[in-house]
């Protein structure tokens, strides 16, 4: 018990301390927060090592243990990264307090067995997210508002779902529940809680906060919450519901699969046409949730394991991508793809981490993203064995999405690191160094290393220690991917290719200035990469959809607002401020009351 409660209490107290510490002890606050997050990491490792536990309030099994470990890991990494990145921000105490609280309450949410505790921890995380987004200064105010309305709103729906669950089982302990979807009440209970989980993870239709947040909030915040922790928790809860709490029927699974498939394709299409790398990554953070939901929606062990593994992998590579992007932004003070270019030479470490993570997210073997996607596909095929046609569409959507992901990361890599920068000026020129300092490149390097390790040694490391114990009934592969052998072959292939290239007449390669239509190109004529996929954007039907999306026609928040304001106008019209009108209402009210009571 104490192993679990101690870090949570420490995080609450440490957060309060950091919050009230005077601003002039900036260094102290930073170091103290870093130490706290390191302590929390250690505590998470300790929780990971305890035996499974079922208590009145706490519940630790393979699934929650591995989530807790991941929470501690990302928390420590982000605190390390923030040391330098957040140095330019005011209100540092508020930032670190919220980061520490987020870690503590995420742990609590992951290990709680009591639905009220879960709900409280979960709801508080929405608040810390709101405060963290607000760190971005005045321009983030509208975005934090939108985010919190979506997150807090779905939390309320979740509250209703939990209340229904309590109504059905008359119990507050998750571990005691086994609810079959046999009535509309249990169906709604599942759906409402799933809404909360999906909104946190960022699946459609509750996704719209993620791209906006990614664009404006400070990068460590985006990397910490929408990219990693919120995914971990959202998918954790969904998996928990599917694995332990509910016994779903095929219709409910179908809903999840459709949500997953639509999310994958729609979000990746949006990502394809972005001009800002943070927003592009934000859309991918939505798109990848689709795979996780799809995997869990298959309902078979391999699919769920794939969804969970993909969640972990996604947190790793997306965090890596955001932090690498943060390095670029830190050095160049911009996140617009149009004005970047040619940074590979100046920021080699960042380039490599981005490259690895891009391959991982696009599902290129032997990186981790490939492995988990492969497991999700297997889950879909397994699902296909039981008939139906939905799985075919889903698998097509997933593969199509994967291809488009690769396409959009080619664009990203080209626009930032390859190609030429605007006006041919190198834009990292801010002093002595080009690459960022160690506290900023170390976290992405660790994450990129994990991308490789989890892909190459998938069977030996993550599946054995993390995913395997999380799946109570175990899972089996229908097609094995010999990751080690395959990697060896890939490396051999690359080496051979390189040898051929070096032996051949590579010296004959020449570089020339661009030459267009018989005229010398001016310096600003370059291929920035942002226009790579304009052809897709200009296709007739797709163009219309993009235009609608630009106008936020698919944004549940904007549409809700529109409907609400039409109601408001009616009510405001009725409140005309004239006393006799109001008295007439009272009179009518009395008449109705009399009619209902005395009749």
């Amino acid at each position: 018990m104490n192993t679990i409660l101690q870090p949570i209490l420490v995080s609450i107290l440490a957060g309060c301390l950091v919050l009230i510490a005077p601003k002039r002890f900036r260094r102290v606050i930073e170091v103290f927060s870093l130490l706290t997050s390191m302590y929390l990491l250690v505590a998470c490792v300790r929780i990971f090592n305890i035996a499974p536990l079922t208590g009145k309030f706490l519940y630790v099994d393979g699934l929650s243990r591995f989530i807790v470990l991941a929470i501690g890991f990302f928390g420590a990494l982000i605190s390390l990264y923030s040391l330098r990145f957040m140095a330019a921000y005011k209100e540092i105490g508020q930032y670190y307090a919220n980061v520490i609280w987020t870690i503590g309450f995420s742990i609590l949410a992951a290990v709680s067995n009591n639905i009220i505790v879960l709900l409280a921890a979960w709801g508080f995380l929405g608040f810390t997210l709101y405060m963290l987004i607000n760190m971005g200064g005045p321009k983030t105010a509208p975005i934090s508002k939108k985010t919190f309305i979506i997150i807090g709103g779905t939390d309320s729906l979740m509250l209703m779902g939990f209340a229904l669950m309590w109504f059905i089982t008359n119990d507050l302990m998750l571990s005691n529940m086994k609810i079959a979807i046999d009535s509309s009440v249990s169906f709604w209970a599942f759906l409402l809680i799933a809404m909360g989980a999906l909104a946190k993870a960022g699946a459609m239709p509750f996704h719209t906060w993620i791209p906006d947040t990614a664009k404006e909030a400070p990068i460590p915040v985006t990397a910490f919450l929408p990219a990693s922790l919120d995914k971990l928790l959202g998918i954790y809860l969904l998996a928990r519901l599917v694995l332990n709490v509910f016994i779903l029927d095929s219709h409910t699974y179908a809903i999840l699969m459709v949500v997953g498939a639509v999310t994958i394709v729609a979000a990746v299409m949006m990502a394809l046409v972005q001009h800002d790398f943070k927003k592009l990554l934000g859309y991918h953070a939505v798109s990848q949730v689709g795979y996780m939901v799809l995997g869990i929606g298959t309902g078979n062990p391999i699919g769920i394991a794939g969804g969970l593994f993909h969640m972990l992998n996604h947190a790793i590579y997306k965090c890596c991508l955001f932090l690498s992007g943060g390095n670029v932004e830190y050095k160049t003070k911009t996140s617009g793809l149009d004005s970047l270019g040619g940074l590979a030479k100046f920021m080699p470490v960042t380039f490599l981490t981005t490259l690895v993570a891009s391959f991982a997210i696009s599902g290129v073997p032997p990186f981790n993203g490939f492995f988990s996607k492969w497991m999700v596909y297997q889950g879909l095929i397994e699902k296909g064995k039981s008939g139906g046609t939905l799985w075919v569409f889903c698998i097509v959507a997933a593969m199509f999405g994967s291809a488009l992901t690769l396409a959009s990361f080619i664009k990203l890599l080209h626009a930032i690191f390859l190609g030429k920068s605007k006006n041919g000026i190198r834009n990292t020129n801010d002093g002595q160094r080009n690459e960022v300092s160690i506290t900023m490149w170390l976290p992405p390097v660790i994450l990129a290393g994990l991308c490789i390790a989890f892909g190459v040694f998938a069977y030996i490391l993550p599946l054995k220690y993390l995913i395997g114990p999380a799946m109570p009934e175990g899972f089996h592969f229908i097609g094995t991917w010999p990751s080690l052998a395959a990697t060896a072959f890939l490396v051999i292939g690359l080496v051979v290719g390189l040898a051929i290239y070096l032996c051949g007449n590579f010296k004959g390669v020449r570089e020339t200035a661009p030459y267009i239509g018989g005229e010398e190109a001016t310096k600003d004529m370059r291929l920035s990469g942002t226009e790579f996929y304009n052809t897709i954007k200009e296709m007739p039907l797709i163009n219309a959809i993009y235009n609608k999306a630009e106008k936020k026609a698919f944004d549940i928040y904007e549409q809700g607002k529109r409907i609400l304001f039409s109601f408001i106008r009616v009510f405001q019209f009725l409140h005309n401020g004239v006393l006799p009108t109001y008295l007439v209402w009272c009179l009518l009210g009395i008449m109705v009351l009399l009619f209902t009571l005395v009749r």
Binding site: I116, L119, A120, A121, G123, F124, G126, F127, N134, P138, T140, A141, P142, S144, K145, F148, I149, G152, G153, D155, S156, L157, L159, M160, A163, L164, W166, F167, V185, L564, F565, F567, I568, R569, F571, Q572, H575, G577, L579, T581, Y582, L583, W585, C586, L588, G589, I590, L593, L594, T596, L597, V598
Partner: protein
């Protein structure tokens, strides 16, 4: 003799109002001190009364030594002491807030005088065991609140006060009419006696008619839709401490408490009346919040939220189940804390910026840290974000609705909660976050006493959830809930306590 404590709740504010009007003008700072001391003392004895009730169950005081059916009585049970704590603790913080805030008005002693009269009225309503006395105290509180709304004597306040007075008087006369009907039916005015008499005579049309009149009258006092229209005018136009007082405690002690006391303890909670209460509650909840979200005037927005939150309270109480009543009462307490805090925040903003228009604010966080943070806490509380107090009571109300099988009401409560969050996000975004307007570069944070009371109320918002801990709730919320649930046992308890 513990029961001599009871009249103090009326005597202290009345006496200090009197002394205030005599000396307040002559001695500078006198009215500040006397009203702070008086409200502090009231707060302390109200908290003390909670422990008394825990030991002795019910305390009855015979005014002038006359035994109840003939004489007037004052009765204190769990519900009463709960309400007394709510009213007097909030009143104390509002009183110290006024020390700085009311500086900008002339005739501060008049303000304190009316303020204390209002407290006397509210305490009287809560503690009275006699129907007609309840009406008299209700009028004392109501009339002083009419005057306080117009205290600024600006165009807006006067108009609002006029509307409020007219509608309030209509309500009061309906209440009086209801009391008259009951008196004609039972030949007694003592609540306990009346309750027994009604139980003996059985159901009658007269009781139903009186119920309708009470529902309307007290419904108007507690601003239930469709009787709410005075509130969005009256609450914003008053000076901020008074807005806080009106929204925080007046509508509750005059409206909700009286509804509970009369319908549960005197008339007996009939299922039909309870379902009407639930419907009115849901209606207020939705209409109030939808109107609130469209407002740009900060205080008006808050006022509409009072309608909506009263809806939650009435919904919880209308359920009639132990859980529902607990949720309703807890929400009543929480609402009075966070809503008075929000009004005090709006007062601090108005004090510094000089406007209530959200569009003219922005980025105040930079300049007014305390106000911004306390208002953030209060906003989170009212929006039902854990771990702040509003979350717990809303959760209980929603769970109670589900428990009773009213899924549609529970869902409305959830939607209302989402919209509440949305509108407070609007407040935070336009007032405190966002770009600092260049015109606001010179503003300063509110003075000491204003900050002090805001901070303490914010702390209560944060820690409020602890009241639900089993040991604490046994002392405070539990007896209040049991008193409501006791229903017609009330009468027997009163007579038992007399013996």
């Amino acid at each position: 003799m513990t029961n001599h404590l009871l009249p103090l709740f009326v005597i202290i504010p009345l006496a200090s109002a009197f002394v205030n009007s005599l000396l307040g003008k002559r001695i500078k700072g006198f009215s500040d001190i006397i009203s702070s001391i008086a409200t502090l003392f009231l707060a302390v004895i109200s908290v003390y009364s909670v422990f008394l009730i825990k030991d002795s169950g019910m305390i009855v005081y015979k005014v002038g030594g006359w035994a109840p059916p003939i004489g007037i009585s004052m009765v204190m049970d769990g519900l009463t002491s709960f309400m007394l704590v709510t009213v007097n603790v909030i009143a104390f913080f509002i009183s110290i807030y006024s020390i700085n805030y009311m500086e900008k008005y002339t005739e501060k002693w008049n303000f304190y005088c009316l303020f204390l009269l209002m407290i006397a009225g509210m305490n009287g309503v809560v503690i009275s065991g006699d129907m007609f006395n309840l009406y008299v105290f209700l009028e004392i509180a109501a009339i002083s609140s009419y005057a306080l709304v117009a205290f600024g004597t600006e165009h807006e306040g006067l108009e609002a006060s006029f509307k409020y007075a007219v509608m309030g008087t209509v309500a009061s006369s309906f209440i009086l009419l209801g009391i008259v009907f009951l008196y004609s039916f039972t030949s007694t005015l003592n609540m306990a006696d009346m309750s027994m008499e009604i139980a003996r005579k059985g159901a009658s049309c007269i009781v139903l008619l009186a119920s309708v009149l009470f529902l309307m009258g007290f419904g108007l006092k507690s601003a239930l839709v469709p009787f709410h229209a005075w509130l969005p005018d009256a609450h914003p136009s008053a000076p901020a401490p008074i807005s806080a007082m009106l929204s925080g405690v007046l509508i509750k002690s005059l409206g909700i408490y009286a509804l509970i006391r009369i319908f549960f303890s005197v008339l007996g909670a009939e299922p039909k009346i309870l379902s009407i209460m639930m419907v009115l509650g849901v209606l207020s909840m939705m209409v109030g919040v939808i109107l609130a979200i469209g407002q740009w005037d900060l205080k008006r927005l808050l006022a509409y939220h009072s309608i909506s939150q009263v809806g939650y309270i009435i919904l919880g109480i209308g359920l009639g189940t132990p859980l529902g009543i607990l949720g309703g009462l807890f929400h009543l307490l929480n609402h009075s804390v966070f809503k008075s805090l929000l009004f005090l925040n709006s007062g601090a903003v108005e004090y510094a910026v000089g406007t209530r228009d959200l569009e003219k604010m922005g980025g105040l966080r930079e300049k007014m840290g305390v106000t911004a943070n306390t208002s953030l806490i209060a906003s989170m509380s009212i929006a039902g974000i854990p771990p702040f107090n509003g979350f717990w009571s809303k959760m209980i109300i929603i769970a109670a609705c589900v428990e009773a099988g009213h899924f549609a009401f529970a869902f409305c409560a959830v939607i209302g909660s989402i919209l509440t969050l949305a509108s407070f996000m609007k407040v935070q975004r336009y007032a405190f976050f966002g770009e600092l307007k260049s015109t606001l570069n010179q503003i300063k944070e509110a003075p000491f006493f204003m900050k002090l009371s805001m901070i303490v109320l914010a702390v209560i918002c944060v820690a409020g959830g602890l009241l639900l801990l089993p040991d604490v709730s046994k002392v405070f919320l539990g007896p209040a809930r049991d008193a409501v649930l006791a229903g017609s046992e009330y009468a027997k308890d009163v007579f038992a306590a007399l013996r």
